[in-house]
Symmetry: C2
Subunit: 216 residues, 2 copies
């Protein structure tokens, strides 16, 4: 059974009288998070300016970092030439066995590559996840969308972009104006979490119910 | 030189005509992210309801997960008895050498413990960072705040809460109504990122400038 985005839980304003709340919608972040699905097909002809990517990285810059070490560095790409150097080293949607990835015309308009500066810290714990989510929520607010890609041919991409060995590629964030519809479902009794695409091309993503993930 | 929150970069609405943007403020997520500082002292007498913690975990539930495997599980704590089992196993603010952590009365009102279900996946890559940031942004929207704690005596906490070995503790999110002021600064020429507390008790957090972290 497909639960359409936003149908699961009614918005609950528990803070009507709290003067600390800015804005008039306590469910705004929930709305953004619900919209921030992983998108893999885009209107590639819609460009993203480098200035926009810089604004998104600024959101990551202001996000938490373990011991405030801030070991993350970023490479931006928003022109077709550089994008074409990146795309071949990405793997897409492992569960869609018959789909090798977006075709030309539906590929990302931009990428933000998240790297670790190994001179600052050898391992980054969860900094890159924090950064990636801040970036994607900012992209969603701008009417864009994307996908956090960990399946990256890191060595080949490092060479293609001449990235010094000091920096280790952690994630590639693909960004663009989304060209597909994605809906959330509740994981069924089989427990199968594999996303799937229906005959209309809508992408379905099973999510575990709240009662399953809260264990105490 | 201290940059007050929000002073760094003027809000830029690049999407005035974009019908996809909901709400009237394109800088809303930036505002939330700027407010989402790491807080370590709280009005402990202000309780947080379990229902609120469930809403926050629901934000994490709807956030991206590598291969959609969703290996994260959550333990919630919002009563003094359980909170008191957790607190002793947390380390706070490593750079504040003379400060061992919040005193009774200033401790968190609640905790969300993020665990990995090792039966689903042995290592979670950056899922926990994504989840933590979603939870903290939701808490910020509700006028709360918190701190992502990785310095946890994991084995002792596992025993204190009788957590089955199947689940591995990854992070503890401390939550409450913040009782301290935190300001962002730009890292100076020394490159020192260590946060510090001034004579008035304001917490200063040096952040690397955008030009330093964008390497290409």
């Amino acid at each position: 059974m497909a639960d359409r985005l936003g149908d699961n839980r009614p918005g609950t304003n528990l803070n009507k009288n709290n003067p600390h709340i800015t804005g008039d919608n306590n469910a705004m972040i929930k709305d953004l998070i619900a919209k921030n699905r992983s998108y893999r097909r885009f209107f590639q002809e819609v460009p993203i300016e480098r200035r926009t990517l810089e604004e998104l990285v600024d959101l990551a810059r202001l996000s938490p970092s373990g011991a405030n070490l801030q070991p993350l560095k970023y490479i931006l790409s928003c022109d077709p030439q550089r994008n074409a150097l990146i795309f071949p080293h990405l793997a897409w949607a492992g569960y869609l066995k018959d789909w090798p990835g977006p075709l030309e015309g539906e590929r990302p308009s931009a990428y933000i590559i998240i790297l670790a500066d190994t001179q600052i810290r050898q391992s980054v714990n969860c900094d890159h996840g924090i950064a990636a989510q801040s970036i994607l929520l900012g992209a969603t607010e701008k009417g864009l969308g994307g996908c956090i890609i960990a399946s990256v041919q890191k060595q080949q991409l490092q060479e293609a972009l001449n990235v010094p060995f000091r920096y280790e590629i952690l994630l590639v964030l693909a960004l663009g104006k989304p060209k597909e519809k994605v809906v959330i479902e509740t994981v069924g009794p089989s427990g199968d979490i594999k996303y799937w695409r229906d005959a209309q091309g809508t992408h379905h993503v099973p999510k575990r119910p709240l009662d399953d993930i809260i264990i105490a």
